[in-house]
Symmetry: C2
Subunit: 486 residues, 2 copies
């Protein structure tokens, strides 16, 4: 990345090639939400999208939106929730270092945001999916997506599922993703209300008046340079920096070389353009981390590190397993699973994509430990302690739920999960709760707004599925309204 991100003085702009009240860079979840609200606020809206169509990373995602506090879907599925309960969970799960004010703001607005999404035509089926998995296997609209019902979170707040998934027309045919079913109605709502979009436009620099106000963007379209004037405001909604190698090396080196669930357009350009204006950042080291194994296997085994020690309840959010493995266990994990448990997992309804065969299979744990090269006695002590507890339905070490506790028998296998993680960056521009981009002086940069994964959102370190589409759409709306002057 050596593209010029230096702000361009408005005085140097010879000609404005395009013009609108609100100019939105990026037509993923944050850009679409911003477009809807800006156009509804009466603004003339122009969206500039780098690829050939709307969607961004969102339209390829599993589609979780993190919502709670007692949504109609939660109620229909028989779950109690409240704003305070949701915030109590998020304050712990999104940290260490989570921003309580932002979390409170998000939780207080969650029910209204649900209604807004439904009002835009997003449909959620009031059916709960309760099996272990990365996402629902069918078209169910609700699932635990952050380990809310697992230790330690189930001791911090009353467990409630908050992963809301837009319904697909026919998921089993694989004809679309739930993320697409979120994006499509939002984009249609925005365009029906009058928002315009231009594609294949790569936004590169901000255009700034001498008083510091952002008044447009400078972009490339088919090799040609264009200046786009924003009469009221610019909204940056260009995604993460997961694919900017230099930025990852500087800010989040542990995720280097293993981007996942991101798209190549996530090159950090929005962050760079705003930094060039003195914009502040936050939580640049935070990342989502997936571990590449089916949760149906995870819950039925025990996960150990390179010292043969357990370190996470295997029935929690698999993204948490990924984070703890990559960051705290030097990206080294092994799933110990006996033949019967492996067969059960394989027989589950999970898609077989993430199912992993055992790397080693032995008659005894002692043999397995030796085959794996673990310190002598380490795995034997771990399995022995686990089995003793499992026999009485207890897991004193990590509190895996009783339903998944069963002594590990023979033959016993181990799945090598070293270097089996990947993810995307969560840090970015520091914004106010009104989606204003904040200067390092603490003041908003006039005319500049941002939302989505080019901003630091709810997550400071931890994560739950649905947080990115959640804060992206929630603060995308704010960005659109504020940029429109509403």
């Amino acid at each position: 990345m050596s593209s010029d991100v230096t702000p361009l003085p408005a005085a140097d702009v010879a000609r404005w090639d395009e013009e609108a009240d609100v100019v939105i860079a990026g037509f993923g979840i944050a850009g679409a939400a911003a477009a809807v609200e800006a156009v509804r606020a009466g603004a003339d809206v122009l969206v500039l999208e780098r690829t050939g169509s709307w969607g961004g990373a969102a339209s390829m995602a599993g589609g979780f939106i993190y919502l709670g506090g007692g949504t109609p879907i939660q109620k229909a599925c028989g779950f109690e929730d409240s704003v305070a309960n949701m915030a109590a969970y998020l304050n712990v799960a999104m940290g260490p270092g989570a921003d309580e004010k932002r979390i409170a703001d998000y939780c207080e607005g969650s029910l209204e945001h649900f209604d807004w999404l439904v009002g835009c035509g997003v449909h959620f089926k009031p059916e709960f999916f309760g099996e272990p998995g990365w996402e629902p296997m069918g078209d169910q609209g609700l699932m635990y997506s952050g380990g809310e019902n697992s230790y330690p979170f189930n001791t911090i707040a009353e467990p409630a599922p908050r992963g809301h998934v837009p319904q697909m027309s026919d998921k089993k045919q694989g004809e679309s993703s739930a993320g697409y079913m979120l994006m499509k109605p939002l984009v249609e709502t925005a365009t029906a209300a009058g928002a315009r979009a231009i594609y294949d436009v790569r936004v590169q620099r901000l255009i700034v008046e001498s008083d510091g106000r952002v008044v447009g963007v400078f972009a490339r379209r088919y090799g040609e340079e264009i200046a786009v004037r924003a009469r009221r405001g610019v909204v940056l909604a260009m995604g993460s920096f997961a694919y900017n190698e230099a930025m990852v090396a500087q800010y989040a080196p542990r995720i280097a070389g293993r981007p996942a669930a991101a798209i190549e357009q996530h090159d950090g350009q929005a962050i760079r353009m705003a930094q060039a204006l003195g914009a502040d950042l936050a939580h640049m080291d935070a990342t989502e981390v997936a571990i590449f194994i089916d949760p149906q296997q995870l819950v039925r085994g025990i996960l150990v590190n390179g010292r043969g020690q357990r370190y996470v309840p295997e029935d929690t959010y698999p993204g948490r397993v990924g984070q703890l493995t990559l960051y705290h266990q030097d990206n080294t994990a092994f799933l110990i699973i006996d033949e019967k448990a492996q067969e059960e997992a394989m027989a589950s309804l999970s898609p077989q994509l993430m199912m992993r065969p055992p790397t080693w299979v032995c008659g005894t744990v002692a043999e397995l430990e030796s085959e794996m090269g673990l310190p002598t006695g380490s795995l034997q002590a771990t399995v022995s302690a686990y089995n003793a507890g499992a026999a009485t339905g207890e897991d004193p070490l990590l509190h895996k739920k009783p339903q998944w506790l069963r002594p590990i028998g023979s033959p016993v296998g181990a799945i090598d999960l070293r270097e089996s993680t990947g993810g995307f960056t969560l840090g970015g521009l520091l914004t106010s709760l009104d989606a204003e981009v904040l200067h390092v002086s603490g003041e908003p940069i006039p005319g500049l707004f941002a939302a989505g994964r080019c901003t630091a959102g709810l997550a400071a370190w931890g994560y739950a599925s649905g947080i990115s589409l959640g804060d992206g759409s929630f603060y995308g709306r704010r960005a659109g309204r504020r940029a429109a002057g509403a």
Copy 2:
């Protein structure tokens, strides 16, 4: 922190109150090294220091400077070392994510840097200190200061101590610190060569020409605002952001509320001023972390986490123990130590400041485990495995050195080390190897240089004592030379 850090246009400066070729902000280790080299390069040098005297955090520090590759002190003490060996260690110990090019640069210049320090009047006594400890107990000039001789580093590079400590006139009288004995000759060298210094001056904003070149600083002196012109260059050497609560919350939240070995002037102002110009950052989440216990105790016990599991060889660099405890073990650790070992530690020559009494003492490990509230069986299994290995002089789990292995007997105690860590931030401005402050576009910001803890130095995540005074002095020199135009 809401002070205005916005750059001031040079055209708005009505009068220059002070003027020099090179203006250096901060008179700690990086500022002093910059001053020596800038004045030697023929520049008229002015140092602006916020407090009433030179010294910064350096003059209160233990004084380690990380040097190697075969220094005269290493040789006199009988240790072999090479540039490649030093780099091999640092590439692992300073990571994950360490910058190999910077480490190679630093290692290649290490011998010359040693000579330069000696040439400035810094004296190192050619005597090795080999006991466990945070620093030498006497005036010895060399010590292991990063776990080089402990697992895993002793398997990665040939162990060599590289913590070089300036000799004090009479340490036992407590009349000074080794850091003072480093700072004093550097400051005297700089001032003898003609560098001027003004104290009680708080640098607040950079002054910038319309073409983007930094040409001075705007500061406060006794409530009065002054403009200081830098004819050739400005060097930022103002220390870390450990005491800026907002920045810590945004960039390194785990160290929030527990600054240590930093000074209150470390408020991140240099980073903010340069960010306001579009300067890039790196490794803002990295921190040094001390664990508040005497290493003489650490090596004689076993350290377990909240699950009763060992996780680090107790005879490694105690700062590494601190990092792993704070970041990977949720800041939860307990030292299990029997009565005999505790008595031995107390009888060692260590100063008693960091010695901790046991929080619990019991007749058996089972009782201790119960008293501590650890999961049933967890500590018993850990001690049993440790004792079995210790009986044969082996530690298959973590490879503590045989000299410290002895089965844990009765009575047995545990020292509660929860929330017993603290430290300072290591991240900051991204600079070139020539100490130029880099803009997010990748280009140097003309006229602006930086070194010391307001920059990202050698450490990306890990740390060793002596790295901060090491890279601060090494790149401080570069900053001074380059700012002088040499």
